[in-house]
């Protein structure tokens, strides 16, 4: 019997460790926002991130006043840091959507404790990403011209252009991600509202919770809305980055014009996104005492997803080389030659292979998958690698185009860097605020993972997670103070 239990534990590792009840889960997560003193580390981290974010503010102001000539782009490299960073950030966001939507539909319970901040990450990453194309338009105050609206200028967007598709893909993505995140937050915000002592917190959480009282009707509507949003988000995981990849693959430029781009980009996005989730959740569980909710099992699963998607990306690199050779097209052959060893940017390619191809091979070993340090380290390397990947695709393809007369080198200016680094600061500023003011882990969803939540059913598996939630909430309503008011 003992052995059977052991095997079961290996097959279905517990998603919540330690001895927790509904009340203790609520306490631990909500006290972070409401009761506990904000740790000094938070202030230091926030101050640092906020300072770095100022470089974004400075660059954007200067850019709006002067024009995008302060960047290093010019012919033939007309797209450089702006689109590299755009694709990088959008890619990072994808893990959040994958975790919240696809894993929800697939009933993967381990998503429950990481989905909240993964979604927040998506949202903030999309905000950073959106800045780049917006500012690259040159006159960002006229960016609404991108939308098809009747106007007296006789102007209509060119729907055959993938850049146009981008506008719709990304704006849909941002909207749906925001809705998904917010709808998921409502029950937890209501918990915070009920527990808050501070008048201001009470008011703000009260407004945000939209009158949530946790009645069966509310739960019913919530479940339907959440499921619908998950359904809407699911195709977005695949479509947004496919469309981003069309920006390149629809063009004729060797190095861009490849049919493998959409799946290769989507896999790369999820790869980069999981790396970022790991970068965020390892310090979070460590310093915020969330080890019971974000367990080793979670880290191991994320490591596995990273390995799988990373291998797809490596396959993409191999296929690019193969297509170059197999096409027998002299431009394609030259592109591969130029990218891999003949061109001035050859070492970027090898750095990329090192970061994205070789570093993840460590994840085959359990020792590395289980180690917080190594996962964190590999995730950082992968994030750098994914940035290099976009650099290689964009800059090394553009700088040697069809007309040798226009060949030129690209080098970023200080404003390219300050803007990029500034968005990283902006991203972390938002995250620090999120960690401070909202529950980082979905309280009511984690409660469904507890053994208590299963008791009502007696048998396992027949009822999905969705059915469990209302029970978990209703029972805990007794614990929550002031749940009866409103």
């Amino acid at each position: 019997m003992q052995e059977v239990k052991k095997i079961q534990k290996n097959l279905h590792p517990p998603m919540v460790e330690g001895d927790h009840s509904f009340a203790s889960v609520t306490d631990i997560i909500s006290d972070r926002t409401l009761k506990k003193r904000t740790p000094y580390g938070w202030f230091i981290g926030f101050a640092l991130a906020f300072m770095v974010a100022q470089s974004l503010l400075f660059t954007v102001v200067y850019l709006v006043i002067t024009g995008i000539g302060i960047w290093g782009n010019n012919q033939p490299v007309g797209w450089a840091f702006d689109i590299i960073n755009f694709v990088w950030w959008i890619g990072i966001g994808h893990a959040g959507t994958l975790i919240s939507a696809i894993l929800l539909l697939m009933n993967q319970k381990w998503r429950t404790s990481i989905n909240r901040f993964a979604e927040a990450m998506t949202l903030f990453a999309v905000a950073c990403a959106g800045l780049f194309p917006l500012l690259h338009t040159g006159r960002p105050w006229l960016a609404y011209w991108l939308f098809p609206y009747p106007n007296t200028m006789g102007m209509w967007p060119q729907f055959r252009s993938p850049l146009m598709w981008d506008v719709f893909a990304v704006s849909t993505y941002a909207t749906v991600s925001l809705l998904f995140w917010y709808v998921g937050l409502i029950p937890d915000i209501a918990t915070l509202r009920d527990r808050a002592k501070n008048k201001y917190f009470k008011t703000v959480y009260g407004l945000l919770s939209m009158g949530w009282r946790g009645s069966a009707k509310h739960w019913h509507r919530y479940e339907i809305a959440y499921l619908l949003l998950a359904g809407i988000s699911t195709p977005l995981v695949l479509s947004v980055h496919s469309i981003v990849s069309f920006d390149f693959s629809v063009a004729q430029l060797p190095g861009w014009h490849a049919t493998i781009f959409p799946p290769y980009f989507v896999a790369g996005a999820i790869f980069a996104g999981f790396a970022m989730v790991l970068i965020l959740c390892i310090p979070l569980r460590h310093w915020y005492g969330m080890e019971d909710f974000i367990t080793k099992t979670h880290l191991i699963f994320m490591g596995k997803v990273m390995l799988a998607t990373g291998l797809i990306v490596v396959y993409g690199y191999a296929m690019e080389g193969f297509f170059g050779w197999y096409s027998a097209n002299e431009f394609e052959v030259f592109m591969i030659y130029n990218r891999v060893w003949g061109g001035p940017y050859w070492w970027f390619y090898w750095l990329l292979i090192l970061c994205n191809g070789l570093s993840i091979q460590l994840l085959w070993f359990k020792r590395f998958r289980e180690s917080e340090f190594w996962l964190f380290f590999i995730s950082i390397i992968v994030s750098i690698g994914m940035w290099l990947e976009r650099f290689v695709i964009i800059v090394t393809s553009l700088h040697r185009d069809f007309l040798p007369s226009s060949w030129a080198m690209y080098s970023p200016t200080v404003f390219d860097w300050s803007m990029f680094i500034g968005t990283i600061g902006f991203f972390f500023t938002l995250l620090f605020l999120f960690v401070r003011f909202l529950p980082v882990i979905s309280i009511f969803e984690v409660r469904t993972l507890l053994p208590d939540a299963q008791v009502n059913h007696g048998h396992h598996g027949a009822h999905g997670e969705l059915n469990d939630r209302p029970n978990a909430f209703n029972e805990s309503i007794n614990d929550a103070q002031g749940a009866e008011e409103k």
Binding site: G67, G69, I70, Q75, G138, R139, L142, F402
Partner: protein
């Protein structure tokens, strides 16, 4: 070469420069690409004139600015839909070629290949067979703007 106005290159404030500008041409501001308009202001004038007389625009009626200043008459502009226009005739010439046409770029502006009478005695003599590779640099621009007057 400037292909895009990445910065505000124009000096709008110095009053003397206002006299310098062609009032019919809007100067492009920051954030706009630099591109040939085929002298749209001249096309507009010709179109209005033709419309007043209830006729089609005649071949050669529109002379672009670059065409009018070209001392070698290397630039021809006209209606490509009219098979008898000068530009259509030149387009049929087998010396006519387009930039990156092999990529199906379909540019309006096309060029005529250079012809060279070579001296056999000279060291850079190339046998006539490969003469097509000497096409560069001939800037015979001829292109068209379908210029039927609209009623």
């Amino acid at each position: 070469m400037r292909r895009f106005n990445f910065l505000l290159y124009q000096d709008w404030d110095t009053p003397q420069y206002k006299l310098m500008r062609n009032p019919e041409v809007s100067v492009r501001s920051r954030g706009v690409m630099e591109k040939c308009t085929y002298c749209t202001q001249r096309i507009a004038i010709a179109r209005i004139e033709a419309e007043k007389d209830q006729r089609n625009i005649k071949d050669g009626e529109i002379v672009t600015a670059c065409q009018s200043v070209c001392p070698a008459d290397a630039i021809v502009f006209g209606d490509l839909n009219d098979p008898n226009s000068q530009v259509s005739k030149l387009k049929k010439d087998h010396r006519n070629y387009a930039l990156l046409n092999e990529l199906n770029t379909q540019p309006r502006t096309t060029y005529l290949a250079n012809l060279k009478n070579q001296n056999r005695e000279m060291p850079d003599y190339v046998a006539p067979k490969t003469i097509e590779s000497n096409r560069e640099e001939s800037k015979d621009s001829n292109q068209g703007e379908p210029s039927e007057p609209k009623h």
